[in-house]
Symmetry: C2
């Protein structure tokens, strides 16, 4: 039920997806849906938790907490790519939120905290010389996320590019781009 609801939200936009549309996509009635959840916002909450729990769990792993800042950054970026691919429709929904309701704003706030942890790793890696210092660290972080988050828009889970290869490619391009220009 959650999978199909999230697919509908992603196809039409959450705001434009009524309970009537959901019932049709689920092949059931509105009252049958209301038997399970209080409304479509409950479905949104469950879906956003799935995406955010996945991303946040990456930060709890030992690889995200131990080692050099560059190694930790590499670990977290790889983990984020793998979560994006594993929870593709859920992260897609998260990334398309506009923050129109309290629930959406609180999910965006959790996402900002996740982004902030990565910005901190970028700062640490700049401080020890493993990431270029000629570009503002917020710009670096945002462009990195832009690259990674775009995966939800184009990655085909049934294509030939495996999640691990994709993660390797992202890390190779990102760390190439983040090196001090003098080192090249």
């Amino acid at each position: 039920m959650l999978d199909i609801s999230v697919a509908a939200f992603n196809d039409r936009g959450y705001d434009a997806t009524s309970m009537g549309v959901l019932a049709e996509r689920l092949g059931t009635t509105k009252s049958a849906i209301y038997y399970h959840v209080a409304g479509k916002e409950d479905l949104l909450r469950l879906a956003l938790d799935k995406a955010l729990d996945g991303l946040e769990s990456v930060l709890e792993e030992p690889g995200a907490r131990n080692g050099s800042p560059a190694d930790r950054l590499r670990f977290v970026l790889r983990g984020a790519v793998l979560v994006l691919v594993r929870e593709l429709p859920y992260v897609t929904l998260l990334l398309r939120l506009r923050g129109n309701t309290e629930l959406e704003r609180s999910a965006l706030e959790r996402r900002r905290r996740f982004d902030h942890e990565i910005a901190t790793l970028v700062d640490l890696a700049r401080a020890d010389g493993s990431v270029r210092t000629d570009i503002d660290s917020r710009t670096i972080t945002r462009l990195l996320f832009g690259m990674i988050n775009s995966i939800v828009e184009w990655y085909k889970p049934d294509g030939s590019l495996t999640p691990d290869q994709l993660a390797d490619d992202v890390i190779a391009i990102a760390f190439g781009g983040l090196q001090q220009p003098a080192e090249r």
Copy 2:
């Protein structure tokens, strides 16, 4: 009228923005809007043309047509960043399209042709050794666009980062990431 309509589409999603909502945002009546346009799809068409005409015009400039593939790629990426920033709300609308109508699909097709021109430059630059060959060129192109397109989600036109500085930063990170690993 177009500016305010596009802001409403971007805030709420195009599908969820009714003519009633548009009238309210414009401080006018639905019939006053219908005096100027046949419906909200006309507004969408005008807005998408503005974004696409801007992007396509970059490809017509001499810098996009002459020089080495790497120089042409650099020119086009810089031009794309500057159009994104100049036409921010219009490109935002374009990038959020889901392709639910004929008009949306035809705009997405024009955007795909633009992306395809850049993919061709990436291929040419790979062929002459100026872009890494260890990563699939479609993956490279998509990650590049992901980075660049993300600008519409976070760039603040009234902030301290100028469009030219942003374009420099994007080019520096992108070309760092695209170099052959052996060269570093």
